[in-house]
Amino acid sequence: MSIDSYRFLDFASRQVMKAWAARQERSVIPFTLLTRPLRECTIALVSTAGIARNDDQPFDQERERRDPWWGDPSFRVIPLGTREQDVRLYHMHIDPRFGQADLDVVLPMRRLTELAHEGIVGQPAPRHYSIMGYILEPTVLVEETAPAIAEQMRLDGVDAAALVPA
């Protein structure tokens, strides 16, 4: 691959992530073809920036401070139309100020709406999602959080989801 995955990382983070990539065991990758043309699809977004609405429960930064090996494995719903001033980014391993200044940097709901108006996609889902990107031990994320998000997407008639790492 010609993209250098590590060029923006400091030396230590680079070494750690290379080690993780090399250690990862290969398994069967699920795949589903789109069942309708993209221009008719309802699309949902999932950001790993740890975004929570101000009227929702924050991601648990205190527990991570007490136990830095732990990351909050829960998720938050971000309804379409949510604005920067309605949310906070709780991810402590990225600079939250860019997404806080312009939420579309990490959760591009307005850009998705524009693509729907252009006829590229059908429509944005009514609900989008955020999880915490820093989770070293992903069992709860994989076994509980992801299926719970998928179930809500099914209820909203979502055809496809884009995971947006932060």
Binding site: I3, Y6, W69, M92, D95, D102, L163
Partner: protein, 106 residues
Amino acid sequence: MIPDLTRAVGVPRLAGISYPMGRPLGRPHDADGQRAVLRSVVELLAAASAPDTYVELPFVWPESPAQARNASKDLPAPPIVELLTRKPWLLASLYTGRIPNEVSAA
């Protein structure tokens, strides 16, 4: 942004982009740039016909890695970095993924 790692985990479709962490869609208030990135991503949904489809997006970040990092150097270090600065021998756990499961390890 770290397509190497995402690919190793195994995802149905992956669009790699050479942008810094925290800014996956691009710079704040650059709506045209953000929309171009997102359009490439959603078009991959239709274009891919098999798992592990990987495309590299051609977008170029307008700053050097050092400039991109400098923009965030005033932030406090994440808790794990503070911990490993105090107890560097624990770095081995981070490399190997053998994560201590007790707060006492902190």
